[in-house]
Amino acid sequence: MKKQIAIVEDEPAIRDNYAAAFAREGYAVRTFANRREAMTAFATRLPDLAVIDISLEHEPEGGFDLCRDLRSLSPELPIIFLTARDSELDAVSGLRLGADDFLTKDLSLGHLIARVNALFRRVDALRRPTEDQQIIRRGALTIDAERMAVEWQGQVVLLSLTEFWIVHALGKHPGHVKNRQQLMDAANVVLDDNTITSHVKRIRRKFQVIDPSFDAIQTVYGMGYRWVE
């Protein structure tokens, strides 16, 4: 059975372009223009993945509300925020509500599809027994590339998809400096320097919640970041 993707987006042209791209990839696509329509449909059947715009018609924050409602229906459903905005605050709010990723609309369709595929892969992986060869261990760090899950000192660190790919890129080759472009490529995003910096900052903070002395991600000024064991 085809996996079903719900697109909640009030701009018809974008909505239809995305729908066409996902359909081409072999997904079943349902599109909604506003929160009410979406929730009515979700009440009868949940999609396998939801791509949600933050501002929906008359509700500037409608996407956040929708995310919250959706999350209460299904804790595991992958949710991707798409927005024309790129403010830090929005990203933080969105991720705090349990979204798996937060993307701006200048992301190319290719990159978007790569993420959707990755999220589906993760959902599948969670249903399968762990395969050891997919697991990278670097000291206290454990990366499960299949399930896109990260553990630090045995505790799960909840990362968004972009954050996971950044940690994955750094942790796979400890000591190697990864510049911003490399990190962006790994995360399938096009971001400016400040956004990378704030992603790294957010990742550090998530690790520090578990281990306040965490400093394994080192800034190499002017070049990028590296993982130190």
Binding site: I14, Y18, A21, R24, E88, Y221
Partner: protein, 700 residues
């Protein structure tokens, strides 16, 4: 700070001048005091006249008081032989010396002979006595021989005859002769039985003989009660004893009878006047001809009425009195005035006059009123009341001094208060001006709160208007500032439509031409996206700065690491790092510092050519650090400080990337965050440009 035009009057000076207008208060006070004074003076003169009239009324018809018994019966005008003694203020000593005698033309009679001898006769009355002083100029003084009888005409020398009729009508003659200078007594020739003549001493007549350089003087006194209506004096002058006498005097020389009147008041007049005595008032009764009949000296004034002393009152008085109050009256002038007064009063009219200078330059007001006969037609005498004007002058001076002192004090206070007020006002305005000058930063942000916005007065209104204006301006510049970000946001949605459509189009079968067009469209879309990123960059940096945490770090390490990276990133340029030994600790955000350095290096790379060397220099000092980036290339335009402002772009870069001038604006934002500033300058040898950023060691 611009102080505005310094020529012309400042607010403070203007208000000060304004305060000086309170000086009109003392002027008005003076005018008032003058008015008050003239009213007082008129009152004083009126009351003096009233008093004088009362006294005069009590003397009305009392000829016998004014004039000695019988003297008033005749009312003929004064003759040349009349004697008009004046009233003396002190009892003279009988010594022949004239020093205590008042010199008044009325009581002096001068008679001269053809050979140069003369008689000057002065008469006064005092306490019921008639005093006389005969000053004789004589070329040859002859005394009596001491051993002869006075009746032996062969032995007689110079002598003085007094002749008068007694109150009963008989003729009396008394002569004064001496055998040498000194005291002497009057003598009388009495006819006894058989016609025998005998010389008797007249004990009531006393005298003194004094020899002068060119003659002699005889001073004598005789009780007024002895004298009737007429009185006369005669000098018998002989050039040798027993020689022919040559007479000079007011008596008939042959008969030795008096025909001139003695015009003098009754001795009771003084007693009568005594009851009207009051402090500070001088009473005087004169005959119609002006001869003083009686005078009552003024008892001493109470101390209160003495004139105020001190510099200020004197100054005020001089300023105030002007010419209206006589300051000094000469003796002649005073006599003339006195005559005028008597003449006016004699004509039946009461009058007053002001004189000055008699007692310590005090002003004297004199009232003269006629004393009428019973029929109220004929004037029998003149009563004069004189009193110092000090009473009202003192009152006026006291009121005036107080008034002037108070107004001067008030003026002083007003000037001080105005000065204080003006100073405060100027200060407030200066504060407002300073605040309004620096209220808007160059980017149009509202930097300070305006002072005085809570003040309830006009300055408060002004400040509030300024505040409202600045806020509106701030809102507008804020709108302009965020316009790029908003625009970027709005353009992003249609751009996303274009890009996602292009993405989809790539999966459709296209002709070769169509593929080319799609590629072009994609190229354009990507450029547009780049522009959007650049437009939003400043906003993102501002957000990043707002969320930045300050940590302590070594600026040297950061810069070194960053410059290493640039060397590999921009392989077409050479990088040289100059930095001091040791660490350069700084509190701030290393991420932001690197971002700032990125922008500086971007700028340096943009404006330099391949193969050029870019110098990055780090200088440390105790207060902070300085980063300098030098690149060879085109020089700066004249408006170099604007380089660091948002959307400034006047230099043409060497590449085709979109330039929004945001790079150096971001440099400035980050320098601001680190408590520093950014500067741009041409290199001294004009080979290129140096951008420098100063950073404070701690900027919390």
């Amino acid at each position: 700070m611009n102080l505005g035009p310094t020529s012309g009057l400042r607010l403070r000076t203007k208000l000060l001048l304004l305060a000086l207008t309170t000086l009109t208060l003392p002027w008005a006070g003076c005018q008032y005091a003058k008015e008050m004074e003239s009213v007082l003076r008129a009152n004083e003169q009126q009351s003096l006249l009233a008093v004088a009239s009362t006294i005069a009324a009590s003397l009305q018809g009392r000829r016998e008081l004014l004039y000695r018994t019988g003297a008033a019966k005749q009312s003929r005008t004064a003759g040349p032989l009349d004697i008009e003694p004046i009233v003396m203020t002190a009892t003279p000593v009988l010594d022949g010396i004239a020093d205590e005698w008042p010199s008044d033309s009325r009581n002096t009679k001068v008679l001269e002979k053809s050979d140069g001898d003369s008689l000057r006769l002065l008469t006064t009355t005092r306490d019921r006595w008639l005093y006389g002083l005969a000053i004789v100029r004589d070329n040859k003084l002859v005394f009596d021989r001491s051993d002869v009888t006075p009746l032996d005409s062969a032995t007689l020398g110079d002598r003085l005859w007094l002749a008068f009729d007694d109150p009963r009508g008989g003729q009396q003659r008394v002569f004064l002769s001496a055998s040498g200078p000194g005291a002497l007594r009057g003598r009388r020739i009495e006819t006894r039985e058989y016609g025998r003549e005998e010389v008797v001493d007249e004990l009531r007549v006393e005298g003194a003989w004094r020899v002068l350089r060119d003659g002699y003087a005889i001073e004598f006194r005789i009780p007024l009660s002895m004298i009737g209506q007429h009185f006369g004096v005669l000098i018998d002058d002989r050039d040798r004893r027993g020689g022919v006498r040559s007479s000079l005097g007011t008596l008939d020389p042959a008969e030795l009878t008096a025909t001139g009147l003695l015009i003098a008041a009754s001795p009771d007049l003084s007693d009568r006047l005594q009851q009207f005595a009051q402090p500070g008032v001088e009473l005087q009764v004169a005959s119609r001809t002006g001869a003083t009949l009686a005078r009552l000296e003024a008892p001493a004034l109470p101390q209160d009425y003495t004139a105020m002393r001190g510099l200020l009152p004197r100054l005020y008085r001089r300023f105030l009195d002007g010419d209206r109050i006589p300051r000094r009256t000469s003796d002649a002038e005073r006599e003339r005035l006195s005559r005028e007064l008597v003449a006016t009063a004699s004509a039946g009219k009461a009058t007053t006059a002001l004189t000055a200078g008699r007692y310590e330059n005090r002003v004297i007001v004199t009232a003269a009123v006629p004393i009428f006969d019973n029929d109220r037609q004929q004037v029998i005498g003149v009563l004069q009341l004189a009193q110092t004007a000090d009473r009202w002058l003192t009152l006026r001076d006291r009121a005036l001094t107080r008034l002037l002192n108070l107004t001067l004090l008030a003026t002083g206070l007003a000037v001080l208060a105005t000065f204080w007020f003006a100073g405060r006002l100027a200060l407030r305005i200066a504060r407002l001006r300073a605040a309004s000058e620096s209220a808007l930063t160059r980017e149009g942000r509202l930097a300070v709160d305006l002072p005085e916005t809570n003040a309830p007065d006009e300055l408060g209104d002004l400040s509030r208007s300024f505040d409202a204006l600045l806020r509106r301006l701030n809102g507008y510049t804020g709108y302009l500032r965020t316009l790029a970000g908003k625009l970027a946001h709005e353009i992003r949605t249609p751009l996303t439509i274009v890009r996602s459509s292009l993405d989809n189009l790539e999966h459709e079968p296209l002709s070769a031409d169509a593929t080319t067009y799609v590629a072009r469209a994609r190229h354009g879309a990507e450029r547009l996206n780049g522009i959007l990123l650049a437009m939003g960059a400043a906003t993102r940096v501002e957000e990043a700065i707002a969320n930045s945490e300050r940590v302590e770090f070594d600026l040297g390490d950061v810069v070194r690491s960053a410059v290493d990276a640039y060397a590999s990133a921009f392989s077409a340029r050479r990088f040289t790092l100059e930095q001091p030994d040791g660490s350069c600790r700084l509190r701030g955000s290393p991420d932001l510092i690197v971002q700032m350095l990125d922008k500086l290096i971007d700028n340096a790379v943009d404006f330099s050519a391949n193969g050029d060397t870019i110098i990055v220099r780090l200088l440390a000092d105790p207060t902070g650090a300085r980063l300098e980036v030098e690149n060879p290339g085109p020089l700066l335009p004249d408006t170099r400080d604007s380089l660091f402002e948002s959307l400034w772009q006047s230099r043409q870069g060497t590449d085709a990337r979109p330039h929004f001038g945001l790079g150096l604006y971001i440099v400035r934002l980050i320098a601001d965050f680190h408590g520093g500033y950014a500067r741009a300058a041409n290199l001294p040898d004009h080979s290129g440009v140096r951008l420098s950023v100063t950073l404070a060691r701690t900027s919390d």
